[in-house]
Symmetry: D2
Subunit: 313 residues, 4 copies
């Protein structure tokens, strides 16, 4: 995907943490970027061809939509994750020129961002009343309206800079160090090339509700030396007691051990969905046991081919 | 816990879906019920002894706080889940007396509730502008303020009834049938008695990041015929690549197979945390394989005791 | 193998139970049949090309050599099992014309055959003294020598008939119903065609002496729905604590699930030895779970090929 | 068992390798020792109380009876293995005073011993004809009869010494270094005390013939860190396709992990048979993973007891 000539959507409005994640994509800064008001809308823009890809939050996030995002790409027309991005969850207190910290009597932000900065707010601007907004970026934009509902907003640094707001305080989150993970989603196409530090996401319906079915699924990874970095049981929404597993596994579809594991899973649960192989944002390289390397797979294939083709003299 | 003389907190303000879940607890209607503004606050009210228990959402919810809730009780001073409750996620459009549906030009609610009713809103009151609120219940309360920011609120039926609002439309959610799961959390004390249809929640730190460690953990359940109904890997927050597993397993600590599985898990991961055994909200009775019944465990114990105590004539 | 024009060896002398097993092979009656005095000798006759195949006992047998047989084909120049045969272990009391049961004062046979007929002997010819022989067939042959060491022999019916001896009593074994299993061994060549009721024999060195290594090996069969019908740990003879596993698995190398299991085993234990796929003597047809059929493997392969070849529009 | 005042049987006649194994038992030299002519007879002498214990070969042996021994103690009235012994399989050529090696024209021994010394015989006394005997010791005894059938016997050094025979050659076996394993079997009574280097033998009927049943059994050992040093599938003799597993596991019934594994096996296969915990002849000390030590089990038990006894304040 030639990023500069591509078009993207993201959870908007402009200036969200999600847009910050999108801007990590090479070329995205110069590309067309269209905000969406929900994950569902973003996905339908990809499916309809209106944009090439969407950046969406995939883990606990002040921009919500998390499990919903995974559930949405696990069903309906197929989509693929082609990249992941990690963004620190750090807030600024922003205001238009002329507003001082002491004079802030009302502050606006998304309820989740408010929950994560209340310690700072109570200590530093205890006089300020809280006004909810639909997103942290929306709160920043509100400051530029004719009659803003508050004097300051809690938001990402990105939107404050985009809108030319003053930053009254930085890093005001009560718990430092939090990050949110985002993924870039596109229609199925060329797989990102393997880098040696990759991740594969799959959704696997549980074939039956019996002790051992989950084990049987996980065993397909373990027996081939494939580590999992995330696993979540998710109700299928069909009826009570039906689940699928949403799994991130270390490695790429191009790795023999991963392909072999997915093939085995396809036999056990033929409706599994491959949701992408893509570089890991943390760029860590897993240790691959010798017997699960591509070389070991090739050697076994050669041995088998010889056995099966054995001819008498 | 004698519910009527107990005191409770819940994610407020009054009238939330969480309070609706709390009202399913026998006696809670006549008990003291104190709203909390966050899950963290609710948990600290239990820990301090200010209330006896807290009802909190545990799954995707328009009232948020979900993974946070589980993470919060997985660390810090021990707490126990003593009950679960399931509440249908259904919204009403409520307004003060005198307001007609046609005259609604602004409607308030939590951003998540808005996202789940937008289909209905666009079709039925397309003229109405959306105003965010910190919760669906807060939106309803706003209607009773002197100068409300909107004429109608999207909220639970409970709060509309509590406040004497008119219900202009019911069941306006775009996807019918959704439910949210809540849990009642208390300080460690008497375990709820086993009912035969129980659930046990544990948090299990992954001993090492290696292929097979997760399998080893899950195997302790599977090998004893204990089904899992939920599994989620959660970062420990300590450093990258460290996880714990948050698991709901079918059965009660009083069941021999569950106690045996937990004992085995304690050996593998000594810092695992038992977070409660309590009746399942869906009241389903799992099939127990004969070799994992209490009777099979007792029989094996007797056999072992005889072997180990064997004396010569 | 065109049996009538083939040449065979077997544990001799002529008339043993092993020759009876060999005579089950179509065409063997008209083929050249050379007795061997030991399993080692028989195997070296195949390896040298002197004969085409050898019939040898593979399970507890009055003709011994059992574990030795399996160990011998698990090492050295490769050989293949191409057929199995089951022979009832039933003995006759045979004597030259003119000898009556009452006049038998000495009876000859192999020590194992003697152990298995002692009940009958004590009851029916209590006067007879026992004289050991190197095999049951050798005891029968002795009766035709100039000065036989005894008047009667305990042997297979086959040798009595071959030598024209009188059968004084049949089915004199103390425990009826015992059978011995034999295998026909040849140099590697064309694999016997799959019949749907097949068996595959492999020798798998244990990669390391650690808990779980055996499990890992067996899991490769279990996870692909392959039943085992025999498993034995055998010391490798290299040094203490080193083992290989001698395994009979249900199915044929031509079955996708078996080939997949053997490929996985080759990765884990690259020195495993394939010792043949051949029809089961009991002609039982195992139930194949749907997800381990050839069809399921092909379907998974097609799915993977599509995924891996995915191209952009 | 006070060995000197105990009485023993063993596979006779006197001077067999089995008696050599018995003489490794402290006090056995001064105890009453009665030869048996078969393993079955030896076991019935214990069961009837005629002797206190029996030494029998348990692995491939020139004295046979191996699998038969294990099968015999796996069924019928319970017996226990209380000790194991390892004896080098080394042969001497023995003859009465006055016989020279060159003058030996006939040599007697058990067919298995003959098979294992043929290389030496062909090279060193090629002129000698072979005469079978029921055991190596019987061959030695024959030399003292009035009209011996041969001039020399191939036997254990023990019997040659017992009978005052001359040893014409020592260590004449073709493959040096072979050993045979024997076990001492008694009626159930006091278990041998744990030494830290112990072995436990069990017979476990396979509950059903399905993929995974064997895995489930072995998993009970693996999941508790118990290594296996021997495993054999054995037909139950009941009908085709029914098996039990004969297993040697590292550790003692007094070890928490072994007791826990056996308890689990009792639930899965209630007719399993405990056949003894006893010191290993090789005196090797296995590495015990921390989470499977007695300490880990006690710690888990305490934790569970606290949880289950938890009372409200």
């Amino acid at each position: 995907m030639d990023s500069a000539s591509s078009s993207y959507t993201y959870l908007g409005p402009s200036g969200t943490f999600t847009e910050a994640a999108l801007l990590q994509v090479p070329g995205a800064e110069r590309a067309r970027r269209v905000p969406s008001s929900s994950a569902e809308m973003a996905l339908s823009m990809i499916r309809s061809g209106e944009v090439d890809a969407a950046m969406l939050p995939i883990e606990n996030s002040i921009e919500g939509g998390v499990s919903a995002t995974l559930d949405a790409i696990a069903t309906g027309q197929e989509l693929r994750i082609i990249r992941e991005a990690i963004v620190p969850v750090s807030f600024v207190l922003a205001a238009p020129a002329g507003v001082q910290r002491e004079s802030v009597s009302r502050v606006g932000t998304h309820p989740h961002a408010w929950a994560q900065t209340r310690g700072w707010l109570e200590k530093n601007i205890p006089q300020a009343e809280y006004v909810p907004a639909t997103s942290t970026a929306a709160a920043a934009h509100e400051l530029l309206s004719e009659t803003p509902a508050y004097q300051a907003a809690i938001c990402a640094k990105l939107v404050a800079e985009q809108l030319g707001l003053n930053i009254l305080a930085e890093a005001i989150e009560d718990n430092a160090g939090a990050v949110t993970r985002f993924v870039l989603i596109a229609r199925p196409g060329v797989l990102p090339a393997p880098t040696g530090s990759d991740k594969t996401t799959v959704a696997i319906p549980l074939p039956e509700d019996r002790p051992g079915a989950l084990m049987e699924i996980l065993d397909q990874f373990a027996t081939r030396g494939v580590n999992l970095s995330r696993i979540e049981s998710r109700p299928t929404g069909q009826f009570l007691g039906h689940y699928f597993f949403s799994i991130d596994a270390e490695g790429h579809l191009a790795d023999a051990r991963m392909a072999d594991a997915l093939g085995a899973l396809h036999r056990i649960s033929p409706h599994l969905r491959f949701m992408g192989s893509y570089p890991r944002a943390d760029a860590q390289y897993p240790l691959i046991p010798e017997h699960t390397t591509d070389r070991a797979f090739e050697s076994a294939q050669r041995w088998l081919a010889e056995l099966r083709g054995a001819q008498p003299e």
